[in-house]
Symmetry: C2
Subunit: 352 residues, 2 copies
């Protein structure tokens, strides 16, 4: 089991260290751990946010554990050299087309949400976001029109097979949960969405046990505020998924607790190859101060054990230890507590 | 002063009737009122959601007062015949490129929001959404690729002059409010956004009194949940504006109270030509029952008097009467009250 650990920028190394301690404690046989530079640190050390050696390592690994990228010192670089390009590059190079972002309220933490407790308490949804297509990876440029005006353009598109494979992920996820799938699009305006909707409906024939609904993205953004508890699994494209999944995370209130998995079609000996990362960013303002909450990173590790290595019991063991840590009141500043990064890591390790 | 009243579908005619009564009561000299069919009713009567005679009327008018469109009986029509196409067609034909959507908490109505009262109370923002460009009106189709696969595509684009004119609207709006403008884009992924950001920065040189900031759309969707009170004026493109303005409306909680203006460059004798409509839809489930809240429609009329006819005092008079109506506890079912459409209209007329 080969794991590439890419800690990245800001608080990335601190939270990755705690995830590594949890992994060590599990004492899994046959583990190989690699470490690589990515993001701003990749640029500073190797001249590129996704250095070739890091990319090779990620390709050779069975799973990638990813910290966070983002470095204010890189803000004025050309776009292709900025830290975020590392994550876009990895998604594309590894064919990670399915991003799974569960958003669940942790009992007792309702007060952290900007939503009323009774609204927040009901949140238990999974956003399945397509990650390899849409307006992210189409033709794009800033060009001069014939009359000399500058124009920026980006081609949005989906082909039917791209929609079909993510639809299957959505339906299967719904089968494993509440059996309701809501597909979000903007089919009243976009042809890309019209095809999306047509194909999702075609695929639904194979999942008679799942109740399918459709929602326009503007309405979905409203419903996620009004009553997020109405959703079970949401499947949507790359751009809408970017917006809605961040919105949903914030509804939960504690983005320091939310993990994500990005999966492809590639099956390893043990499971599906994937990349696992916390929802939150590199938080440069608190980097190096030992204050960052490592729980989302540790929960990303749990997702990795589940999806890439088929180690469901170990994943549940980590998740249980995290729940217990929270229930015992060990909380970082982001959750209104005072525990530091290492202290939280200690607490989880002690409860494994 | 020529006004085209397009009541549309569902509750449209009911709420339009109350706005008309308010207008009558003001007894403005020199008013010409036209009525036209639009949306599902346009399709049923004339075979098109935006019949040519309605379009001509809208073109000849100084302002369009628009109810709502949307009719479940039209859901299976081809896209270009569906009710929503009427509003897209009007925006384009009339060159209405600037959509102004104020979202303000009405005192005493904090309990209607899904957000905590202390978070909701602080909402006082204006979203300025571009309305004539972006992925809405670019080349689009579902086509067959060479290998036979279906592909949906939509071209997203902005030219610099399109960004410049909406940026000016945003900056001027900020000058008239809290002097803070937040431009929302996805410049880390989209070239369209990169040009958007570049041009907004260029335009900012002309408004040294306005503080400009930039935010990625995914972060904006989070911040609108976490702390919507941080925003003064938000300027953004057509697609992001569609999503964020609906989200912001729902944060307020009472979309039955929110109005919008869509303005172009065309100046009439009296002001800027525009289209005015409530944020909410045609609500077919309660149509014809006399239950709909007409206040957003009445507030749209106030916006019309302000922007298209320079009648600031009359606009403020209507807004004052609406506030008083609410303060006096005259509320529709959507606000937890029991007043019907006509009763609410009566209350406003009595308080003018
Ligand atoms: C950093 C950025 C390019 C990325 C995205 O838009 O996909 C991020 O927002 C995310 O959601 O992982
Ligand atoms: C009906 C639809 C085409 C329209 C839009 O997307 O612009 C609506 O959502 C709006 O915001 O006015």
């Amino acid at each position: 089991m080969k794991i590439a650990c890419l800690a990245g920028d800001g608080i990335g190394p601190e939270i990755m260290a705690e995830a590594r301690r949890v992994l060590d404690k599990l004492d899994l046989p046959g583990l190989t751990i690699w470490e690589g530079d990515v993001g701003g640190i990749g640029y500073r050390r190797h001249g590129h946010p996704l250095p070739p050696e890091t990319l090779e390592m990620a390709k050779a690994a069975d799973a990638v554990l990813f910290g966070a990228v983002g470095d204010p010192g890189c803000d004025n670089l050309e776009r292709h050299l900025r830290p975020e390009q590392a994550i876009l590059g990895l998604r594309q190079a590894l064919g990670l087309f399915a991003n799974l972002r569960p958003a669940t309220m942790f009992p007792g933490l309702e007060d952290l949400s900007a939503l009323r407790p009774e609204v927040a308490r009901a949140i238990d949804l999974l956003i399945v976001r397509e990650l390899n297509g849409d307006v992210y990876f189409g033709e794009k440029a800033i060009r001069r029109l014939d009359d000399g005006r500058r124009q920026g353009f980006d081609l949005m598109s989906y082909a039917e097979d791209e929609v079909r494979r993510i639809a299957h992920v959505g339906f299967r996820a719904a089968q494993g949960r509440g059996k309701r799938l809501c597909s979000v699009d903007k089919a009243n305006v976009l042809e890309t969405s019209q095809l999306w909707r047509d194909v999702v409906i075609e695929v639904s024939a194979e999942y008679p046990d799942v109740e399918l609904s459709h929602m326009y993205v503007d309405n979905a953004a409203m419903q996620l505020v009004r009553n997020p508890g109405q959703f079970d699994v949401v499947v949507t494209g790359n751009l809408f998924g970017d917006i809605l999944s961040d919105q949903a995370s914030m509804c939960v209130g504690s983005i320091g607790l939310l993990a994500s998995a990005s999966l492809g079609e590639h099956q390893t000996e043990f499971g599906t190859k994937g990349l696992y990362e916390p929802i939150h960013g590199s938080a440069p303002d608190i980097a190096g101060q030992g204050k960052a909450n490592p729980l989302a990173m540790i929960l990303s590790l749990a997702m990795m054990l589940r999806h890439s290595f088929g180690l469901e019991a170990k994943a549940a063991q980590i998740e249980g230890a995290v729940s217990k840590t929270l229930a015992d009141g060990v909380k970082g500043a982001d959750l209104g507590g005072s525990a530091g990064t290492v202290e939280i890591g200690d607490a989880v390790v002690a409860r494994l």
